[in-house]
């Protein structure tokens, strides 16, 4: 332990990589029955991680070279698989994001999960989640990253299916696990491809070698595409995007964590982690850009017709993740990572605010929350509006800056289709966010509902004011802190850019092209058009949902077929169902079942029947007389003796 004390950086990194795990084990083994102690253990572990992460960020902020601690885990001939910590600018930034969000979510859960029978279990899984994510973030090699990547998947499976006695929740957990696993198969094959084609799984050496063209281009393209499958699964990209809306079955703080800093962010983070590797293959980048765009547009349309408050944010997460993947695919390393950062803040904010509403009104339906008097909860309402403004990309908020960065990168592409798609996405994002806000702020049918509810409504209010105690404030404080972060984060745009790119080992031409093109007159035109489109989306939502006498139906109501298409998630789930029924169940499963019944069972049954029948025939030889056996024995021994003697 002395060597740990001598190196505070290593000590802090090890703390991040062990403390939450220790807390999980302690909670599961010792303190399951003592709720407050479990929460205290888990929160103090994550607080220690937060302090360590901030310390690391502060100490290493000027470090010119990435700090790497690694030990060879598996060495075989030329193959080296390291295990340890890699602390460079990207991982430090991500580590801090994860620690901050996980800490706030755990504090918030004190209020949200209060009185739940699985309280201790919840905190144990939260610790597992934080541990897996943080260790994944600082992994120096792809295999370690992959292991913790899977652990992140496991933790989110456990948390999505947290209310396991509910059928839909356990189904949703299973769906999330299986669908991400589908992508992870590709990821693993990609790792194997790198291992075969290059022989070293260290992230830094992979990036360097790919940039210096020391790996064959075909190997790079193949493994980049395979690894991207993992991103598609984890970050819910097209076509594996349908698990994320179902993942709403978990408790709301879990959704907040899952959608902002952990699970889905893991995919985009991993992609930016080996961004130089991806950038070395233009084909892979093109595929990435395409998938990101499709995902972004599809998910936005789905969000436009959802009534479940959490589902709207879930679709918006998918769409924003698509946006990040687009940015990375277009070569905008900083833009993608920056949007990941800001999105983590405001999406956690949106979910935590929704959680307060759901906690108060016991419904996920935005119409009912509105009717129940959602706007009376001032703090979450204001904070949610801040989050929605950031999501739409309105000026002083963090989302504005990151979206502008992405638009700049897209505009630098020679093909303007991507830019148009991006702008369209911005319009739809503003529309669906404010559709939700206006529906809660200006509920319809207030007449009879309010009259009937007037008395009880006031009672409710008084009651709420009474129980705006520790529970409420445990939820309100994290929300306000996140709103504050969302408000100011954008102004650190340039600092972050310098921090990430300043002395980064691999700086990319595409990035500089993007920035270079962005600074002219075109930049301002772009800026103006993006913001005006977002404002247009808000005004549009106002006309349809906000103003007095608005029908609150949305223009899509007039096109029932389109609405049904959007509401059914473009029938992607139906397509999967069909594929499952026909190809998997009808095809493979049927084939294998028949193989099992006919060939394998038949063979075993045949052997049994042969043995039994043979036994029956041979048993006629058995007369029951000892002396006949004896004669045979003597004859046999005599034959053996004759054989050996002669």
């Amino acid at each position: 332990m002395m060597w740990l004390a001598k190196d505070p950086v290593l000590l802090a990194a090890s703390a991040c990589a062990t403390l939450p795990f220790v807390s999980m084990v302690v909670i599961l083994i010792f303190t399951r029955r003592y709720r407050s102690m479990s929460a205290a253990i888990s929160i103090s572990a994550i607080a220690a991680c937060l302090l360590s992460a901030l310390y690391l960020l502060w100490t290493l902020r000027h470090a010119p070279e990435p700090v790497q601690y690694q030990w060879a885990w598996i060495v075989s001939n030329d193959m080296i698989i390291p295990f340890g910590f890699l602390l460079d600018r990207l991982s430090l930034l991500m580590l801090t994001i994860v620690a901050v969000i996980a800490f706030l979510v755990q504090v918030y859960s004190l209020g949200y999960m209060a009185g739940d029978p699985g309280f201790s279990r919840y905190y144990a899984f939260q610790s597992l989640f934080a541990w897996a994510m943080m260790t994944m973030v600082i992994a120096p090699g792809m295999l370690q990253l992959y292991i913790f990547w899977e652990l992140v998947g496991l933790a989110s499976y456990l948390l999505i299916g947290f209310y396991y006695e509910k059928w839909s929740a356990s189904q949703a957990g299973k769906k999330a696990f299986v669908m991400t696993r589908l992508g992870d198969i590709g990821f693993f094959l990609g790792i194997i491809a790198v291992l075969l084609g290059f022989g070293d799984l260290g992230i830094l050496s992979m990036n360097e070698a790919a940039q210096a063209h020391r790996i064959a281009p075909s190997v790079v393209t193949l493994s980049a595409l395979l690894i991207f499958c993992g991103v598609v699964g984890k970050s819910a990209q097209f076509p594996l995007l349908t698990w994320l809306p179902d993942a709403m079955e978990g408790p709301t703080p879990v959704s907040a964590l899952l959608h902002s800093a952990t699970m889905v962010a893991a995919g985009v983070y991993m992609m930016s982690r080996i961004f130089p590797f991806f950038a070395a293959s233009p084909d892979a980048m093109a595929v990435t850009l395409f998938i990101g765009t499709v995902t972004m547009l599809l998910a936005s349309t789905m969000a436009m017709v959802a009534y479940d408050i959490k589902q709207v944010w879930a679709y918006s997460t998918i769409s924003q993740l698509g946006f990040m993947v687009m940015a990375l695919g277009a070569g905008g390393y900083f833009a993608g990572v920056f949007h990941l950062t800001t999105h983590a803040g405001f999406k956690a904010l949106l979910f935590l605010c929704s959680g307060i509403f759901i906690h108060e009104y016991h419904t996920n339906d935005m119409r009912e929350i509105g009717r129940g008097g959602g706007r009376k909860l001032i703090i979450p309402m204001v904070c949610m509006t801040v989050g929605a403004l950031a999501l739409s990309g309105i000026f002083p908020l963090s989302g504005f800056f990151s979206k502008e960065a992405i638009m700049g990168v897209l505009a630098a592409k020679p093909n303007k289709v991507w830019l148009v798609a991006g702008l369209l996405g911005a319009l739809m994002t503003a529309y669906y966010s404010f559709r939700l806000i206006f529906m809660i702020l200006f509920p319809r049918q207030p007449a009879h509902h309010d009259a009937a509810h007037q008395g009880t409504g006031h009672d409710d209010h008084g009651h709420e004011a009474g129980h705006h105690g520790a529970t409420f404030w445990a939820m309100a404080w994290p929300v306000m802190i996140l709103a504050g972060i969302t408000l100011v984060l954008g102004f650190f745009h340039k600092d972050l850019e310098h921090f990430l790119l300043g002395a980064g080992p691999a700086v990319h031409e595409a990035e500089f092209h993007g920035e270079g093109a962005g600074h002219g007159l075109g930049h301002y035109v772009l800026l103006f058009s993006a913001v005006s489109l977002a404002l247009g989306g808000i005004v549009w939502a106002w006309l349809e949902f906000g103003r007095k006498g608005a029908a609150q139906e949305g223009f899509l109501r007039r096109y029932p077929k389109v609405e049904a298409l959007f509401a059914n998630r473009w029938y992607i789930d139906h397509a999967y169902r069909w594929l499952l029924d026909h190809l998997v169940y009808g095809g493979f499963t049927n084939l294998f079942t028949r193989n099992d019944r006919r060939v394998i069972d038949g063979a075993i049954d045949g052997i049994c029947r042969f043995t039994v029948g043979g036994g029956r025939v041979v048993s006629f030889l058995q007369s029951g007389m000892v002396q006949y056996n004896l004669v045979l024995m003597v004859a046999g021994v005599g034959a053996v003796i004759l054989f050996f003697v002669l």
């Binding site: 041979v618 048993s619 006629f620 030889l621 058995q622 007369s623 029951g624 007389m625 000892v626 002396q627 004896l630 004669v631 003597v634």
Partner: protein, 102 residues
Amino acid sequence: MNSLSVYLVLGAVLFSLGLFGVILRRNLIGMLISIELMLNGANLNFMAFNRFLAPEPAVGQIVTLFVMGIAAAEAAIGLSIILALFRRLHSINVEQARRLEG
């Protein structure tokens, strides 16, 4: 014909008589006695080889003593099996004990 051959022929005769008895007698006690004859035929061989050929004269005698001990144990067990069988079947004829017929 030297004396070793005499002993060996005598042993073989004893063994063959025993074998003959075991196979043909239907009386279980008779079978037991015949097995004793076979054992003694083998014992005679051991003693003859020990007397005429062995460099270390004690080995054959030890084996013979050992066989005699085993034979005593075998007779005890055999007789108790016969007794049990007699209690069950009221007969010591081996033809009566044919439960294992296939």
